[in-house]
């Protein structure tokens, strides 16, 4: 995982591989005025989520003309709205040249993924997003934890971008729950649970019955096959210790 220096020589820094979950803006075409209008509208739906957030521009579905693709305008508009464009994903050679000209990082498209750059963060499956709105959405300051009392069904995705996620029902096979902080599932966890999606290594996952397809904390993940020996179908917590996911039964915690 990390390229820890083996010699005793002290260095000013170390390079470590990190996997960070990020928001991608899938651009279909670019029109300066409309872009800002839509962006503002999206931000107004979840102001806390987008504040100072990094963003990558995904060009994989871009259908407009290359000549209309003005990265300086995109960066400026985003910056005015407190969003930092850090790179582009995908795109053809000309588009990527334009992006490089605007000092943006170039990430491989999902089809052209570069093995050496691949992180252990599983690609988020394309699923329809969050069904249930947080109970107090629009009521001022965001709640510290998002609480869901309905089962999270196959194909659904529930996202707590700012804090903890508490689910008082099953998370079904084929469902996905994500949180910046901890995830609590007071029911069987049969789908995927990704805690610490912005890199919080102290995040934990708690569940009444571990039957998950995948669990991940800050990008470190384990799939169902690797979870069978320890705590399967029982109440456990999962945490990150020395870059390893550790499953402990809740009655021995």
């Amino acid at each position: 995982m990390s390229d820890t220096a083996t010699s005793g020589v002290k260095q000013g820094f170390q390079l470590k591989s990190a996997s960070v979950s990020m928001t991608a803006l899938e651009l279909y075409y670019f029109d300066d005025g409309e872009f800002e209008e839509v962006l503002r509208d999206k931000i107004s739906q979840a102001p806390g989520f987008f504040k100072d957030t990094p963003l990558i521009i995904s060009l994989e579905k871009y259908q407009g003309l290359d000549s209309e693709l003005d990265f300086f305008k995109i960066i400026g508009t985003c910056r005015r709205n407190h969003i930092h464009v850090i790179g582009v994903r995908g795109g053809n050679e000309d588009q990527r040249r334009l992006a490089r000209g605007a000092a943006l990082a170039l990430l491989p498209g999902s089809g052209q993924r570069d093995r050496t750059h691949e992180t252990d963060q599983p690609a988020a499956p394309e699923a329809e997003t969050a069904v249930a709105q947080p109970p107090s959405a629009g009521a001022g300051d965001p709640p510290p934890a998002r609480i869901i009392s309905q089962p999270v069904r196959s194909g659904q995705q529930i996202h707590a971008p700012d804090g903890d996620l508490v689910i008082l029902a099953p998370v079904q096979a084929g469902a996905e729950v994500l949180a910046a902080g901890n995830i609590h599932v007071y029911g069987p966890l049969r789908g995927r649970a990704l805690a610490g999606i912005h890199g919080a290594e102290s995040a934990r996952i708690f569940c009444q019955s571990l039957e998950a397809e995948l669990v991940s904390i800050a990008g470190h993940y384990k799939i169902s096959e690797d979870l069978q020996e320890n705590g399967w179908k029982s109440a456990v917590q999962i945490q990150l210790r020395d870059d390893l996911l550790v499953v402990t039964p809740l009655d021995k915690a």
Binding site: E128, A132, Q156
Partner: protein, 270 residues
Amino acid sequence: MARIIVVTSGKGGVGKTTTSASISTGLAKRGHKTVVIDFDVGLRNLDLIMNCERRVVYDFVNVIQGEASLNQALIRDKRVNTLYILPASQTREKEALTKEGVEKVINELSETFDYIVCDSPAGIEHGAMMALYYADEAVVVTNPEVSSVRDSDRILGILQSKSRRAEMSQDPVKEHLLLTRYNPARVERGEMLSVADVEEILAIPLLGVIPESQIVLNASNQGVPVILEEDSDAGQAYEDAVARLLGEEREHRFMTSQKKGFFSRMFKGG
């Protein structure tokens, strides 16, 4: 205002149309004015199960596109006179079902009917979405095997996120689990999921368990809704399900294998 019930499943071939036919017939038999709509545009089946295929003149899509009035398209059942069938079009595409068009038809039916039963096509594409969009209640038809259970779970998620009730933040669609093709003997041998297994995974109230039966196949082939086979266990199981749908309390039957002696069968009435 009519109560709108969608019969759906995600997976194909689990018994949606059989169930739609029986539930609508059961509701109508109890005196409720009921219409059953076939949403499976292009793969029209309900008319066969209801034995009215020779009387189809106009269909659902004709009504939506203004080529026929609702009264011209509705077919009155010959056995139960409070039951009407709105057949699907066999020659069109599912995209002919527009949200506005479906809404117009459902609103018009709502004025005169007590129950509107929507027979959904399989899958989660446009036709299935249109069938469930306006629903107040959903009967989720599931077979006792893992792939059917997962597809039902998917449909339940869609009901709670993509239906009109979800989009308008109204009370959620009321969900009912109907387990069909249940074979207790095979469950006991561990070849099928049990009622308890499916209930545990899907976590919605159980409306009924329909036993696997040759009667169902025979009835379909003859164009008789199974619920009219009143002496059969499958027919009685549908009768119970309709009663529960209307709020009656009935004990669940046909969940254990019934290879008992003649006398015990006599005394249990089954």
